[in-house]
Amino acid sequence: MTVAGWETVVGLEVHCELRTRTKLFCGCPNSFGDEPNTNVCPVCLGLPGSLPVLNRRAVEFALRIGAALNCRTQRSVFHRKNYFYPDMPKDYQISQYDVPINVGGWLELPSGKRIGIVRAHIEEDTGKTTHVGGGGRIHEAGYSLVDYNRAGVPLVEIVSAPDMRSPEEAREYVEELRGALVATGASDGKMEEGSLRVDCNVSVRPAGSSELGTRCEIKNLNSLRSLGRAIAYEAERQSRALEEGRQVAQETRHWDESAGVTFSMRSKEEAFDYRYFPEPDLVTLDPPAEWLAEARANLGTLPVERRRRVAEAARVPTSGEVVATVVRLGLDSYVEEASFAGADAGLALRRLANEVAGELDGGAFRLGGAEFARLVLMEQNGELTSAQARTVLKVMVREGGQPEEVAAKLGFQAMGAGALQEVVDQVVAANPKEWERYAAGDDKLAGFFIGKVKAATGGNADLRAASELLRQRRAGKAAAGS
């Protein structure tokens, strides 16, 4: 992290591949993992004489993304971004420049903080180059292989404001954005397949300053983990440099995952002049009002809305960590179902965020919603103790099944009220001094008695019921004594 006295400032550029059936400007399949150069045609190969025709579905997805990010949507223009690279068939990329489709929005993080969205524009993806030999870089390679299947795949690039202040916050933003993009149906959110790619701008400044420092752009961030590590590394590198009286050069840096460092790719002096100009092969994009209305209608339920619903059901604050966890893991429907079945939604929420979340390791997940709701009810009604309920729940996550049957199989049965009363009476009788103090109002002793009850019953007692019995007994004594 930064040297003390410096603040980290992060802005992110996220490229999101759209889940259209076909590419942005032609009818070739938009699909990942096919044989190289099989999903190509004159248009996406940029053959002489070919012309682009905009995919309507891509525009719809872009509009949904704009709506999800609270952006203003405008009449927009495509530009050509000119530079030479073998994986770019036309040696220019069709993108949007000074008049993008979506501008000026925000994304609300689970913490409640809003991150500004500068723009979310449409552009085409490039092909994929594999440099063979020479450490995988183009100028040292023996030869290079190019796969144009990805060339022309539709992207929306989402540019955030420099509003994030830590690696954790940057990760939180990407996770939240990913959730929103998946909710709109525009993206499958798969970072590992490159359908969500993150570039990151990092700068540091003296804590309390409102001016931005010189930033570096970091590329090659393939996971949330590398994003967090790269920001931390970069913030430390920059703050140390400034601390030592050196300057930070504005440049693009490459993240080396195995070495855990960033290194310089090219400096601003060598930066490309992209010679942007309006793409004459396309007309102004002016989606009719119905498209926008349709986009809003098909938005899906965004994570922020899901958190609101869960928090409301459980009567807890929206910005709570438990709520965020449950929504991030996609377990919120369980809260809703439990709440609908009359179970305590707050208890359901805790069980999900702790026991269920702890069991999620990518293995079998067989928990049914109605079954979960019944389990919560059983715990709540004292049919199972908390410890029992937790054990049953873990089994249900792995193996499925009805809570009653799982509990019976494990030999769990909450003690009947009479039996529990008996145990409480025994424990009180065996510890008269402690009882005197508890009866005199020393509440600390409650824990002592509950511990005794737990030990005496081997964990099969409903401890909440036991403390209730203790309280009643004290109240009864007080009443009898007066």
């Binding site: 940029g46 002489p48 025709v53 036309k90 040696d91 010679r275 942007y276 100009f277």
Partner: protein, 493 residues
Amino acid sequence: MRVREEGPADLSGATGLSAQEIAARVRGGELSALGVIEEHLARIERWEPSVHAFNLVMADEARERAAAIDALVEGGADPGPLAGVPVALKDLLCTRGAPTTCSSRILEGWRPPYDATVVKRLASAGAVIVGKTNMDEFAMGSSTEHSATGPTRNPHDLGRVPGGSSGGSAAAVAAGFAPLALGSDTGGSVRQPAALCGVVGVKPTYGLVSRYGLIAFASSLDQVGPFARSVADAAAALDAISGHDPADSTSLPGPHESAASRLGRGVDGLRVGVIAELAGAEGIAPDVARALEGAAEALSSAGAKVEEISVPSVTYGLSAYYMIAPAEASSNLARYDGVRYGLRMPGQDVTEMYMATRSAGFGPEVKRRVMLGTYALSAGYYEAFYGKAQKVRTLIIRDFEQAYRTFDVLLSPTAPTTAFALGAKTADPLTMYMNDVCTIPSNLAGHPAISVPFGTGDDGLPVGAQVLAPALGEPLMFQVAEVLEQAAKGQAK
């Protein structure tokens, strides 16, 4: 009368039939398409070595296609409105499986895997593609001298240029190699060679004809247009290739009125404005100016109201064009990098390979314009050059709109001079660029214009008169052009 030896422009030995006559007779079974194509191929064999109109003559394919059309007719089917009509294609229109070179080394060996939309439309109209014609490399030039395959010569005088960039197509029609040809017009590349070769040449409204499969020079200006030996044939050809194409986003939604719909109506009562800034432009030769006066008088005596009109901003057209067209070209021609198709020269790494390939593959005029355009788009210069040129474009559109409030069509010379000698202007690009001064404004405005032969210069060579019309004003434009054509014939008698 000047006595001349038999030459390629002397059509007395040719069929003498117009495209429409050929089509009518082929459809009626009176003439075989194969016979028509044989006759044209014979003429090509006789004169092509002197003219060099073609980069590729597709004799076998043409015979096969003609035989298929004859079979259709025999079977009682109608091959279409251009049945059996030989058509020559400028070598920047993609033809599936047949080399398409733009007269450039850089596309050496490339065969497009698809047909341009206009090529498909010609095929479905029953036309027979006879070959691919020579041009200035990537359509950059006004003389067809900037070609990797050598210059095309003017059929009227083999020591002179045919104009350009579609000089091969113009020469092919003038020499009777085909009654119709297609070219592309970015700043005058159909109309100027039409004028210099004494044929009719059309630049349609931007978006009327699909650009899909037309290899781009300057995308916002390029339009495919026909050459013919008569106004009516040109209209028929335009009707065959025009119409909405979903593969071209800049294609106008149809349907459109037929370009031939107003033929035969005369010009009585029409208002014709002679553009003062072009008729009197610096560099317009006195014989061309005289011919234009003759054209104005002819329209006037046919009943049109002819007056001079000022369209001030057209004088900036040439400068604006030489910012916009090279800028777009610099981007359009980036893809010729040796990676995927065409020429590839060896290099130590990818950058060297790019440089070696492009240095060897492009001729000097293409390099000049790519550099011009790259500069015009550079950071810090964009507004001063490209941005300002776009503003001129807006001004020209506005001035034309103003003019069309008073006039139905406008009139100007097509080219400043008659055909010039080979090599006369290659050393001085600016003099060469001046050839397009009268034709460029229509491209910048996106409006249609046509060049019709009208009279001859002091050297006995053809002069063209240009009729300009507002967007989608083709029917009116052809109506006026036809009257000029008739008047010109009357004068020649």
